[in-house]
């Protein structure tokens, strides 16, 4: 039982250490630089920011039906 606990702690500490290391590396190597800019990569000139790209299909008879 104590062996198991030591093993678990070793694994936990190793995980914690490697995640901190990964974070330090990510910041140092600029993986996070200009990050917010990435959020705009799903837009383009044809479907730019500020324009909706979906709505209810227009009814062919009454076009005002699409809002309820």
């Amino acid at each position: 039982m104590t062996n198991t606990l030591i093993f678990i702690w070793a694994v936990v500490l190793m995980l914690a250490f490697s995640s901190v290391a990964a974070l330090v590396w990510a910041v140092a190597s600029g993986q996070l630089g200009e990050f917010q800019k990435g959020a705009t990569c799903i837009f383009d000139d044809d479907e730019p920011i500020g324009e909706m790209t979906d709505n209810f299909p227009a009814s062919h008879s009454k076009s005002s039906e699409s809002t309820t």
Binding site: D44, I49, N55, P57, T67
Partner: protein, 501 residues
């Protein structure tokens, strides 16, 4: 939250993707994604019928009782498996492939292979369900298909993983969008979980109760590391894309992804609290569940703050309506899940219909609603036709939304009472069975409502596949683009005037 200058966004030097490039990508996905989508709708309808049969049997045990194939203990797993592996996985895969192509800005490669994989997957679900109904199910929750189903499943995923790596390596867009992390993660996680759990449970690799923890390690992660990432990837793409507004905080999204990857894994043992497990194992599950507050709050902040000020647009866009419903449910189900892992809550809620209500809040209210929303966006762009009827879309939405709310409320209250009564030894067990009947009826009624919604959706998809809708005038936008703009500005005027929320 954005000031007008921010809303414009920084002038980026990404490759501009004009209409024709995007139309080419959509067209490259057409046959493959439509096959996965159409199959998923078939399984959705079949799964709904199985669900109703199972639900009715719980309050009227004489219903279809003569048939061995349709005994409750077989119909229930048949329902779960057709829904998870037929409906949710197949619609998820369709969305996954389309999003990958769009976000990598590449036409979908290996189309023949993916068509074959789709047929293969259908065969696998059909054979697996049939095996459950004839009595060859494993009675391991969420892994009821016989063990050899893991072979075709693994083979399909080898193709999908190879395809994902190929597309990510050859991508034309330098930035990996947050949806791609989730999608890539899920394609690796799911086959690993499925094959790993199958080996652990059907071989001597795990002993005794460890097979139980393997079961819940798997079952909890099918939702957490397969369906949830696809659902979140869809929400991360469609909410900003439909609104025309970048995600609120992109930094938060990276924290959300890695904390989900770190903590969700460990939450599964909360299904065994109070069971014959070493105490530390249960504690780990509870801690994992509590830590889930981190990714959930980051995702909630991101999705909901992107939506703030835009709620009027839920009236305009079917996609947004379904996806925002799903995203809100994600917050609700995750908070409920973390709380359920607390020992005091678990003491009452465990072993009751409360858990069933919670599971449906996750798989249905969150994942399925997002899957519907995604399909409303993707299918017209593949077929290049409009949806045939706004009214049917609204029928679909309201039946499902009211149905799932009724389902959740009825079974949560009923299940909680059931747990309270069970923990009081003075109430005979048979009295509890009798007192539960009205709540079980409420589930059958809610389930009927949801099934009606599913059939409305089935009609829409059928008409779409037969190309009966109006033409899309330009390749990606609906005919009523101008109307929509006019409508949106009108709605904005109304909401500014304070008439509307």
């Amino acid at each position: 939250m954005n000031t007008p200058s921010q809303a414009k966004g920084p002038q980026h030097n990404f490759d501009t993707m004009d209409v024709s490039v995007r139309a080419d990508i959509d067209r490259s996905c057409r046959e493959v994604v439509l096959l996965w989508y159409a199959s998923s709708v078939f399984w959705l309808l079949l799964g709904s019928v199985l669900a109703l049969v199972a639900s009715i049997k719980l309050h009227t045990p004489g219903f279809l009782a003569g048939s061995e194939w349709l005994t409750f203990g077989r119909v229930r797993p048949a329902h779960l498996n057709t829904m998870i592996y037929g409906w949710a996985s197949m619609s998820g895969m369709g969305t996954l492939l389309w999003l990958m192509a769009r976000l990598c800005k590449l036409p979908l490669p290996w189309r023949e292979g993916l068509m074959i994989a789709g047929l293969y997957w259908n065969g696998m679900v059909a054979i697996g369900t049939w095996q459950i109904l004839i009595g060859n199910g494993t009675s391991i929750e969420w892994l009821e298909f016989p063990w050899w189903i893991s072979i075709p499943l693994g083979a399909t995923f080898l193709v999908v993983i190879a395809l994902s790596i190929k597309m990510l390596r050859e991508r034309r867009e330098k930035h990996l969008y947050v949806s791609q992390w989730y999608l890539f993660g899920s394609t690796i996680w799911f086959p690993f979980l499925y094959i790993g759990a199958t080996i652990l449970i059907h071989s001597p690799a795990a002993v005794g109760v460890a097979k139980g923890t393997a079961n819940w390690w798997f079952a909890h992660n099918v939702l957490g590391l397969w369906l949830t990432p696809i659902g979140l990837a869809s929400a991360y793409y469609f909410i900003p894309k439909v609104l025309g507004r970048p995600i609120h905080s992109y930094y938060l999204s990276i924290i959300g992804f890695w904390t989900l990857a770190l903590f969700y894994n460990w939450a599964g043992t909360h299904h065994l609290i109070g069971g014959p497990l070493p105490a530390w194992l249960v504690t780990v599950g509870t801690v994992g569940s509590m830590m889930m507050f981190v990714p959930v709050i980051t995702v909630a902040v991101n999705h909901h703050l992107t939506m703030v000020g835009n709620f009027s647009k839920l009236r305009v866009s079917p996609t947004l309506r379904f996806i925002v419903f799903g995203a809100m449910s994600y917050t609700a189900v995750s908070v409920q899940g973390s709380l359920t892992a607390l020992r005091t809550v678990n003491e009452t809620g465990h072993f009751t219909h409360y858990t069933i209500a919670h599971a449906h809040l996750g798989v249905y209210s969150f994942f399925t609603m997002i899957a519907f929303g995604s399909m409303y966006y993707v299918m017209p762009r593949l077929v290049e036709r409009e949806w045939i009827s706004s009214r049917l879309i609204k029928v679909h939405f309201w039946c499902c939304a009211i149905g799932i709310l009724m389902y959740w409320v009825g079974l949560s209250i009923g299940g909680w009472l059931q747990g309270t009564w069970m923990n009081n030894p003075d109430i005979p067990f048979m009295d509890i069975v009798r007192r539960m009947i009205p709540y079980l009826w409420s589930r059958s009624i809610a389930g009927t409502l949801m099934t009606i919604g599913h059939f409305a959706f089935g009609i829409l998809v059928w008409k779409m596949l037969r190309r009966e809708g109006g033409w899309l005038v330009d390749p990606t936008l609906f005919v009523s683009r101008k109307e929509a703009a006019a409508e949106a500005s009108m709605l904005k005027a109304i909401s500014d005037a304070g008439v509307d929320e």
